[in-house]
Symmetry: C2
């Protein structure tokens, strides 16, 4: 479980010659960091007299952001595992025709699974960006830069996960699955980009008035 | 030292009602993750027959990326500390005129220091993006998505750090310092954006040919 390791150990494992954890796990971690920053802004808003009117909303948001944080953290590990399974499938014997067929099917299945993990990261990013927009709009203005960094981390998580979906799709010989997932990635990415732009406009406005 | 904590503990501290660590530390961590991914691509390139002609270059790059990773990791902690010092200065007594003057000077000094930490993060991002461009261009093509995620994390680190410089500058009453640093932030940000665009073009090209 990378999430139980120290930051230094995780960074060491990342930098090492082992291909997992890699960019996919980093994308999920970027999502977890973005979600944690949403919770932080909620925590710095809840109980403040000046923000009494949004107290209930912030309590609701923090329930959702903490749930998303847990899911992103789980996906850090799931991505590493999914990648290891692809590697395992590639290392199966391919000396005979039946072995080749078995190996081909195992690689295909593992690769499909490896596209689904970053796709899940992308979907969670959209949910989390909606919460980041709420806390940027109505959370404690003293934490506006934290809301801004949250949105940046979530959009980067989405873009990074998209690269990981696409590199896995590249090696799949299943046009229907590939076509469907390619469209899904494009749609999620453009939603994420639009949401980041909206949040950045809010952040800019609040930074000016600070 | 946050870097000695587990990922979960760091995320818990981040999500908590304590204002530090916050977005500034996350920006520095994003830089460390980007630098670690550069090292990973180098490690997956060094010693490979197909990449024998870039072996020496990759060994040189990994020396620099590991050095940058260490600096980013140190900056995670430095940002938390700098922010705590600003909070400390604000909590100084302000009952008498001499106390007010003392407190004002302490706040000013701590705030200036708190702008310099994310500015350092931004400068390191530019250096790291230059390395990310090298590994995207000439590193192991199987790791092209990792090079892409690296560039995303580094640019987001730069943008996140910029928000933290700017929010600190907002509260400073020193037009010369503010003007100078505002220009520096704008220039670093546009360089970072340009470098990300260039790297993303390389990544797209390589993903197509994969």
């Amino acid at each position: 479980m990378p999430s139980k390791r120290t930051l230094d150990t995780f960074l060491d494992d990342l930098a090492s010659s082992s291909p997992a954890p890699g960019g996919g796990s980093v994308a999920a971690l970027s999502g977890a960091l973005g979600a944690a920053l949403i919770s932080m802004v909620c925590n710095l808003t809840i109980g403040k007299k000046k923000y009494a009117d949004v107290d209930g909303d912030m309590k609701k948001i923090i329930g959702q952001s903490e749930d998303l944080r847990r899911q992103f953290t789980t996906l850090v590990d799931k991505d590493t595992l999914a990648f290891s399974k692809v590697m395992e499938a590639y290392s199966l014997p391919k000396d005979t025709e039946p072995q080749k067929a078995l190996r081909g099917a195992a690689v295909r299945e593992a690769t499909k699974e490896a596209t689904l993990v970053p796709l899940e990261v992308m979907k969670h990013c959209i949910d989390a960006l909606a919460l980041a927009q709420e806390v940027a709009s109505r959370g404690n203005v003293n934490s506006i830069s934290d809301a801004g960094v949250s949105a940046l981390m979530l959009h980067t998580a989405c873009e990074g996960a998209a690269l990981n979906v696409r590199i896995n799709l590249n090696s799949l010989d299943d046009p229907e699955f590939v076509g469907w997932k390619t469209d899904e990635v494009a749609s999620l990415l453009s939603t994420s980009r639009m949401m980041l732009d909206e949040i950045q406009a809010i952040v800019e406005e609040k930074m000016k008035n600070d």
